[in-house]
Symmetry: C2
Amino acid sequence: MTRDYEIKALLFDVFGTVVDWRSGIIRELSAWGTDTHVVADWPAIADGWRGLYQPAMERIRAGNRGFVRLDILHEENLRDIFAEHGLDAPIGEEMHRLVTAWHRLDPWPDCVSGLTRLKASYVIAPCSNGNIALITNMAKRAGLPWDVVLGAEVAQAYKPHAQAYLGSADALSLKPEQCMMVAAHLDDLEAAAELGFATAYVPRPDEHGKGTGAKTAPDGSVDHVAIDFNALAENLDC
Amino acid sequence: MTRDYEIKALLFDVFGTVVDWRSGIIRELSAWGTDTHVVADWPAIADGWRGLYQPAMERIRAGNRGFVRLDILHEENLRDIFAEHGLDAPIGEEMHRLVTAWHRLDPWPDCVSGLTRLKASYVIAPCSNGNIALITNMAKRAGLPWDVVLGAEVAQAYKPHAQAYLGSADALSLKPEQCMMVAAHLDDLEAAAELGFATAYVPRPDEHGKGTGAKTAPDGSVDHVAIDFNALAENLDC
């Protein structure tokens, strides 16, 4: 694809693309279960918790609820998934510990080195549905070297709503065509591409568990495909 | 002062506190004048440009105008100060060059090393009236290692309006009491302290020109006084 604009910023999806949310959430739930003597199927609860993520945001995207940050949705969804598994929802500090499990996720092994390389040539920023505190705490713990935190809370809209992408580019005073969206999810890239963003697909085949696979991008649907962030840096001559 | 909360984040004023705006703006204006063969009293124009900053924000703080980002106020103010000096306002790329002069300011010599030390123990973030793109571009050029960009555009309010401080703390999911405002300006610190923020005064006696002096903080008016960011890091046992 020939482009008229020079790319200035790379905007990254985070859950799945930068961090391995599933392993981290299972680890955090299991540790909480051990400490509180609660026995449960934590991998199923982790998947169920994540499963409530899109429906919760959809109410906001559809305009049936005002914007609230993801930490609040995570707390509401945890109550629901715990109830579904016959567990009492934790309260106070215990609830805080579980909700902030999403702040303590580990990146895929290539992310810190790859982002560091990319940062030398581009503004790098998360364009995540995670709220500012979540993404900031995660970055600090994991050493993710973002230049700035953008995404849903800055734009006051959840991806794939157009405003989430457009508001993030606009915060940098950039046109969509000057930004590249980087994600492990083709629907995220498709939504960004429709608005004029360049796209890079970095599949993460282990996102939903070891070897659960990743989709192949249809021919011509994305600008770049890379196996990880270091490969993306090579593709982009960083 | 005894405090009940542990400080988690340091929020920094930027213009004057982190960067030497006056030298940078004079340098950028002078270079533009050389390139375009425009002769003028650039130090006076720099001071005049900055002088229009508070009145422009005041219209927004007073509710007489909706929030617009600082780049827009800088452009409007440049037209006014150029007119005052009998100069034609530049257009297009030339105007862009001058407006983004504020994105290309140099930090005081202690800032990068001091912020790097402070970052090891605290979330460090600008709480500036500068817009997100301005602060991001400045940080990238100067190597300022912010964890996250907060301030006026995130909070949609200009300091010293309470919402500028409260919105920045809230974006981190922190109470004001868990945040320390760091500034070279006592009025900025006073506004933050009234809301419950801890305060650190780092006077910058050269802000308005070499040796133009800095005020002494009245006894008990601030929590910390430090000669620069490395001294602040020492005060805070970083």
